[in-house]
């Protein structure tokens, strides 16, 4: 099944849901829910109307109501893929991982084309990761790549993360480099450089880092990367200098009361590498407090542990 056919299937699904939208004049979320409720109560209790109302409930953060509507939508149409995907994500968001996994498995069962199947497998891999089962998850993300070798930006990031969680860091550069070459995404390029540093392939990473340092306005993230490389090759003093400059710039960028999570992660790492362990621990604690993803904290946690135990 090629992309053309996929487009046709996707369109069929989307168009089916979009049918009738023209009659809804409201753009206010609550008013839209009221309008859909009126429709449902007056006999138009279709799977599509329940799905649409669920989406609006989700927008308002009312996940329980959204879940109920999606259940009804699926009861009326068990092959309603969009509803199945949505309920999977909602279940996962509520921390009900086992149910989310079961739901994602049903998405795979209902998938028709290889493309749909591969996309559903990535969904299941994500649910398994959320449930703390990366070794199971990677089986599905690997299969997804077999079914659809080109993949998508998100798939490469997910697969790379799964490799990282399974301590298979040496495999990460290759998957990220392939993804970068196929998509051109700078996010994959930067993740590839980070993975090179983690695999101690400093000689490949350093020239790119140097180039970025000369062409970037804000340099802290590249100084941090260069410092990691310098530490790796034993240029400790130069690395410390980079880390201090990194912290200087971050101090100007980090809002004192409402800091950006990504910058706190950078500052924490710079502090850890400089040996400011208490400051690094504070940053880590802050990240955990504001609910940062494990992938954000894991590297900082590792660095603190290593330096603390030196």
């Amino acid at each position: 099944m090629n992309k053309k056919i996929f487009r046709l299937h996707l369109f069929s699904a989307l168009f089916f849901v979009a049918l009738g939208s023209h009659a809804i004049s409201h753009h206010d979320t609550k008013a839209l829910i009221e309008e859909l409720t009126k429709r449902i109560n007056s006999g138009e209790s279709t799977a599509e109307n329940y799905y649409k109302r669920a989406i609006e409930y989700r927008v308002l953060g009312q996940l329980k109501e959204a879940e109920n509507d999606l259940k009804i939508a699926l009861h009326r149409n068990a092959n309603f893929t969009l509803a199945r995907r949505e309920i999977t994500r909602i279940l996962s968001k509520q921390g009900r991982h086992k149910l989310a996994i079961l739901s994602a498995e049903k998405v795979i069962t209902n998938a028709i084309s290889q493309r749909e199947k591969s996309s559903a497998m990535i969904l299941l891999a994500r649910m398994l990761l959320n449930a703390g089962e990366p070794s199971e998850a990677i089986k599905y993300s690997s299969t997804a790549f077999k079914l659809n070798p080109n993949g998508k930006l998100e798939w490469y990031l997910l697969h790379s993360r799964l490799l990282g969680e399974l301590n298979r860091d040496n495999e990460r550069p290759e998957i990220l480099r392939t993804g970068y070459q196929l998509t051109g995404s700078i996010v994959l390029r930067n993740a590839w450089i980070d993975s090179l540093l983690e695999c101690k392939k400093y000689e490949i990473a350093l020239p790119i880092i140097e180039k970025e340092l000369t062409s970037s306005r804000l340099k802290s993230s590249w100084k941090l990367r260069r410092a990691k490389a310098y530490i790796g090759i034993g240029k400790i003093n130069t690395a410390m200098n980079d880390l201090r400059m990194c912290l200087n710039e971050l101090d100007q960028r980090i809002h004192p009361k409402k800091p950006d999570m990504t910058l706190i992660a950078d500052r924490g790492m710079a502090n850890a590498l400089l040996g400011n362990i208490d400051a690094a621990k504070n940053d880590l604690a802050h990240l955990i407090h504001i609910g940062a993803d494990k992938w954000v904290t894991i590297h900082l946690d590792k660095a603190i542990f290593l330096i603390d135990n030196q």
Binding site: A18, S185, M261, T262
Partner: protein, 656 residues
């Protein structure tokens, strides 16, 4: 599945019927993806053709030509046609539709070219000066920019048309030409189908789109049929977005979000609808990298879901809006963003100068850096440091009033200007000033604001900011009784014993005596300090005792280049009180409770004792500063006529 396909085909036909008319074009030529050396011209027909674009700098001499070998032809999905590969298929265009995408390269930067579409030798577009395109200036070069911002317009109705016409008439009247058009989403109600795009966007804006690139952000209504993750759908068929950084910035790898440069202005376009908005998501990671890379002087971001609104949507209650505020705004502000345009909420809301407003619910305490109206003819423009400086203040503009029904739920406390009527926003950037104008559907200007970038400005949040619910300005700063110890001086801007123009308060001076434009050549000249009775004055005013209590002083000065405005302050020796004005604006009141000139009331006694006190410039004083010549005007007051002494001896310093 076959049945679904039949329904789909039936719907294709119903929607497409009537959209094409008799014109050869089912979508008239429109511009896409301009850079400093290239442009795309896109059009659709219902029939086969031999596509050719002729172009040139002279309308009568279209000596450039590109033929079908450089023109991509895309067609409707057809399972039986093996000649259409993935990249060439259109999503849900009417059967038989052919979309032509002509890329013209090797163009001069910042140049205007005229063009015409041909079918072989047959000219399809008229010989008309409105068929032109302009290439961007080279990234990093200074060039003025003028663009149109529209959101939530795609009804195909009367109000949308009126908003468009109002913009065109305004530009015609002012002799202005757009450099670009920004759409913040919801351009094809209600589901962003191909037919809705044709009728409610391309047909509606045709005269503008033929010569102005629309750089779009996807709205939730387009999101019903187009998907950001796949880059598939009518929205992605309509637009050619620079996912490989063709127009500047860093490659995103997704058409859903991208950046572009126009001279020294960097634009960031995000998909707030259907992509992960968390800091760990690929969009946020790209944003961080892109923002760290740019060396532009202005940073403008736009997307559909507003971080701050109480129009038809509530940013304190809806997930996408909350996430854009809590996750995306910190990245933008830590990178020095200047202004954010959004839609979704059907209203016009424009904020004060804010920073760090990420809390839910949104409050004004601790986040307003300048609570003025931002109007150059009112409280003055918002002042920011030159270049892109983190957390130096952002203006938020919700422009979801482009054509659909408008409404309001409440008042967002950071907003300075709110209008519940249809309209659009016109923005010009010239050198160090950005000016925004909200034009309503009748062509009336409803709001004007500006951001001026100069020197180094250090803002701190205002404790008691202007309140949009009461519509009242904050309580005026009380008169202070004295200054502080003079800090070490780096430079004297107005020295001690300098020459001033002065006017005796035996009568009131002209009303505009403290303005920059006032001519004080008829006033007396003398060296400071001025006064009598305490043996500390260079210009002694023997006539003052028992006759009058007020003395008016004026002196011009220019600021040294590249100084930190926060380090400027007045150093004054005074007895008893004074009011200082900078370019006509009151910046300091010492020892006088109310009124000015002859109407000054409740003047407190104060002895100079041959000492000077320091009064640092606050934000209002900094805002009153001009780049070239400034005028410092001071009215010195004695607390009573029979007082035994009087002194006023002002200086202006730059502290270390």
């Amino acid at each position: 599945m076959k049945n679904i396909h039949l329904i789909v085909i039936f719907c294709f036909l119903s929607i497409s019927f009537g959209q094409a008319g008799n014109n050869i074009f089912s979508r008239s030529p429109y511009l896409q993806l301009a850079t400093d050396s290239s442009i795309h011209i896109v059009w659709r027909t219902k029939t086969k053709m031999n596509p050719i674009i002729r172009f040139g700098k002279d309308m009568d001499e279209l000596n450039g030509k590109i033929g079908s070998e450089f023109i991509l032809e895309r067609r409707t999905v057809d399972e039986s046609d093996e000649s259409i590969n993935d990249a060439l298929s259109l999503f849900d265009a009417p059967k038989g539709t052919r979309q032509f995408e002509a890329k013209i390269s090797n163009l001069d930067s910042n140049s205007t070219y005229y063009y015409s579409v041909f079918d072989g030798e047959k000219r399809l577009t008229p010989k008309d000066s409105s068929y032109y395109f302009k290439t961007h200036p080279k990234p990093g070069t200074k060039s003025p920019l003028y663009f149109w911002v529209v959101g939530d317009s795609g009804t195909g109705g009367e109000n949308q048309a009126k908003v468009h016409t109002a913009m065109r008439k305004y530009n015609q009247f002012k002799n202005l030409e757009l450099d670009m058009y920004i759409h913040v989403g919801d351009m094809a109600y209600t589901s962003g189908t191909d037919g809705q795009f044709s009728e409610r966007f391309f047909k509606m804006y045709e005269p503008t789109l033929r010569n102005t690139v629309c750089w779009a952000a996807m709205g939730n209504h387009e999101g019903k049929t187009s998907k950001g993750e796949d880059g598939i759908g009518p929205y992605y068929d309509a637009y050619i977005c620079p996912k490989a950084a063709e127009a500047g910035g860093l490659p995103s790898g997704k058409e859903a979000y991208y950046s572009l440069d126009y001279g020294k202005v960097h634009f960031i376009v995000l998909d707030s609808h259907d992509l992960d908005r968390r800091p760990t998501g690929h969009m946020a990671q790209w944003l961080k990298a892109d923002i760290e890379k740019t060396k532009a002087e202005w940073l403008i971001a736009y997307f559909h879901h507003p971080p701050y609104t109480k129009g038809s949507h509530d940013s304190d209650k809806e997930q996408q809006l909350i996430e854009m505020r809590e996750h995306i705004m910190p990245i933008l502000e830590s990178g020095g963003v200047d202004i954010v345009f959004t839609g979704h909420s059907h209203i016009y809301e424009r904020s004060m100068l804010i920073n760090g407003a990420y809390a839910t619910p949104t409050v004004s305490e601790g986040v307003i850096l300048d609570d003025g109206d931002g109007n150059p003819n009112g409280d003055g423009p918002y002042i920011k440091s030159a270049g892109l400086v983190p957390h130096n203040g952002t203006v938020q503009v919700v422009a979801g009033h482009g054509g659909t029904n408008v409404s309001r739920k409440g008042t967002m406390p950071i907003m300075r200007s709110i209008f519940v009527e249809n309209g659009s926003v016109l923005v010009s950037i010239s050198d160090n000033v950005l000016t925004g104008t909200m034009l309503n559907l009748d062509g009336l200007i409803r709001d004007t604001f500006a951001i001026k970038k100069e020197g180094t400005v250090i803002h701190s949040p205002i404790e008691n900011p202007w309140n949009p619910v009461t519509g009242k300005k904050p309580i005026k700063k009380k008169s202070i009784s004295r200054g502080i110890k003079v800090p070490p001086v780096a430079q004297m801007i107005i020295r001690k014993n300098s020459q001033w123009a002065y006017f005796l308060g035996t009568e009131d001076p002209p009303e505009n005596w403290n303005m920059l434009a006032f001519n004080h050549s008829s006033w007396k000249k003398g060296e400071s300090g001025f006064g009598f009775g305490d043996d500390d004055d260079r210009t002694v005013l023997e006539s003052m005792k028992n006759k009058y209590t007020t003395l008016y002083l004026r002196r011009s000065f220019a600021l040294p280049e590249g100084i930190d405005y926060k380090k400027i302050g007045l150093v004054v020796s005074y007895d008893d009180a004074f009011i200082a004005y900078l370019n006509g604006k009151e910046i300091l009141r010492v020892g006088i409770e109310s009124g000015n000139g002859g109407g000054a009331r409740n003047i407190s006694p104060h002895e100079a004792e041959k000492t000077f006190e320091y009064f640092p410039f606050d934000t209002n004083a900094i805002k009153a500063l001009e780049g070239g010549v400034n005028i410092l005007a001071i009215e010195g007051h004695n607390h009573e006529k029979k007082s035994s002494d009087f002194t006023i001896h002002p200086t202006l310093i730059l502290k270390k």
